[in-house]
């Protein structure tokens, strides 16, 4: 069955520290991967997505993610975090092969950035 897993459940960083959140997927077929962010009190927003092509994708707010097929990974990175990056981060992929639009989400990672 398709699955998406996130390694880190709760991450605490100081401002200006570098960030890397792990995401692994487990399925075959078309690989479409997403990172979503949910800021406190706000709704889910798309950070970035990978469909094909350059495995290093850049998103909003300085975030990027690298798709590494051999490792089944799609880790999220940011070189220098800000207090405003405090949020819940979700990795997601297709729930069923064939990219029907349905998503399966990882467990989520709570990022707390200390000023």
């Amino acid at each position: 069955a398709q699955s998406v897993s996130q390694h880190n459940h709760h991450v605490i960083l100081s401002e200006a520290a570098s960030l890397e959140l792990g995401c692994n997927y487990s399925y075959g077929g078309t690989v479409n991967l997403f990172w979503y962010v949910q800021y406190p009190g706000q709704h889910l927003q798309l950070l970035l997505k990978y469909f094909s092509g350059d495995p290093l994708v850049k998103g909003i707010k300085g975030f990027e993610a690298e798709f590494i097929k051999s490792k089944f990974s799609f880790n999220l990175r940011k070189p220098s975090v800000q207090w405003s990056d405090t949020a819940e981060y979700f990795c997601a992929g297709p729930a069923h092969s064939g990219n029907t639009g349905k998503l399966i989400f990882g467990q989520g990672t709570t990022l707390q950035v200390k000023p």
Partner: protein, 112 residues
């Protein structure tokens, strides 16, 4: 992109009652989805709301508990029936637009 609104934004309900959540999109979309986010957990897909046919439910979710309507290409409703405290969650509507899913603000439901 797509802009999605949901009503109500939150509600507190008594067990045994039902609540209907509305989802409105600012453009016509083929596919609409309903997700649930239980406290401290990730999002779980409930069903796909199909226009002109019955909704398609994921494993563990049934039509009697979560009836869904999709009368047109911009609107859908999800009803949480015969509620119990275990139904306390955030319910989110999403749409597939341009190979990306956009999410509504969610409806926060507390069942007492």
């Amino acid at each position: 992109s797509a802009v999605i609104s949901q009503k109500p934004s939150r509600d507190i309900c008594q067990r045994g009652t039902s609540l209907t959540i509305q989802c409105q999109v600012d453009s016509q979309v083929t596919m609409m989805f309903w997700y649930r986010q239980q406290p401290g957990q990730s999002l779980t897909l409930i069903a796909t709301a199909n226009q002109g046919s019955e909704a398609t439910y994921e494993s563990g979710f049934v039509i009697d508990k979560f009836p869904i309507s999709r009368p047109n290409l911009t609107f859908s409703t999800l009803t949480v029936s015969n509620m119990s405290p275990e139904d306390s969650s955030i319910y989110l509507c999403s749409v597939d637009s341009g190979e990306t899913q956009y999410f509504g603000p969610g409806t926060r439901l507390l069942v007492l």
